[in-house]
């Protein structure tokens, strides 16, 4: 395999893996409640007060 072929292969491989990565992120968007995780983290850290604009959390 010459240099050009190798570069093309690497580019296509990267694109394929980025597509796979995007699929994982889409699945996680549905699976993970980020607001809940943030509330859990703040509670575990002992943060009782949150910024005014985030008091809906």
């Amino acid at each position: 395999m010459d240099r050009d072929q190798e570069t093309t292969r690497d580019t296509e491989l990267d694109r394929l893996m980025q597509q796979a990565s995007a699929s994982v992120q889409e699945a996680l968007d549905a699976a993970i409640d980020v607001q809940q995780r943030l509330r859990d983290l703040l509670r575990e850290a002992g943060v009782e007060t949150v910024p005014a604009h985030r008091r809906h959390l």
């Binding site: 292969r9 690497d10 580019t11 296509e12 491989l13 990267d14 694109r15 394929l16 893996m17 980025q18 597509q19 796979a20 990565s21 995007a22 699929s23 994982v24 992120q25 699945a27 996680l28 968007d29 699976a31 993970i32 980020v34 607001q35 995780r37 943030l38 859990d40 983290l41 703040l42 575990e44 850290a45 002992g46 943060v47 009782e48 007060t49 949150v50 910024p51 005014a52 604009h53 985030r54 959390l57």
Partner: protein, 175 residues
């Protein structure tokens, strides 16, 4: 106002952290999954990293690099506790790849990525996220040349496993 938790964060700093968490938490979990973690292990490691980031927030210059460094360390500790990696891999494969059709390109690509040795998997996962070798080296604590070597070996193995035609087809048409 200062938050009375021992963290000594101002309202503004806490708001900054919350915005960062909301924007990056899922990305960290996704990165760890691509690096071979189960969803549960990935979330545990991401939470530990975010907790560390919260505690040190005023001193952190690059939150993304910081959380990824801490998260990978936490993940390696979790893996160190696992009795056998083969058992871990099977469990994580079942859990993480379940949402994907095994016949689809994305599912197959993920499965192949997770078949790489841990060091190559980690480096390649960061590479896919857009990190250059120097940035990966900073996160993993490796020399940049070592990172490039892992990346080169990972690409060869993935290309061999997938086949040139399959890579071209999948990359062109997408999942």
């Amino acid at each position: 106002m200062t938050v009375e938790t021992g963290l000594r964060l101002s309202d503004e700093q806490l708001a900054e952290f919350c915005a960062y968490f909301e924007g990056d938490y899922r990305a960290v979990v996704g990165l760890l999954i691509r690096a071979g973690a189960s969803l549960g292990d990935a979330e545990d490691a991401a939470q530990e990293a975010m907790h560390a980031a919260l505690r040190q927030w005023p001193a952190i210059g690059q939150p993304k690099a910081f959380t990824r460094t801490v998260a990978f360390r936490a993940l390696y500790r979790a893996w160190g506790r696992a009795k056998r990696e083969s058992a871990l891999r099977q469990a994580t494969r079942d859990e993480v790849l379940a949402p994907f059709d095994a016949g689809q390109d994305a599912g197959r690509a993920l499965e192949l990525l997770r078949s790489l040795p841990a060091a190559q998997r980690l480096v390649f996962a960061l590479h896919v996220d857009g990190y250059e070798p120097a940035g990966i080296a900073e996160i993993t604590g490796q020399h940049p040349d070592t990172v490039r070597s892992h990346l080169r070996h990972a690409r060869r193995k993935l290309a061999r496993a997938l086949g040139a035609a399959a890579i071209r087809e999948a990359a062109t048409h997408g999942p």
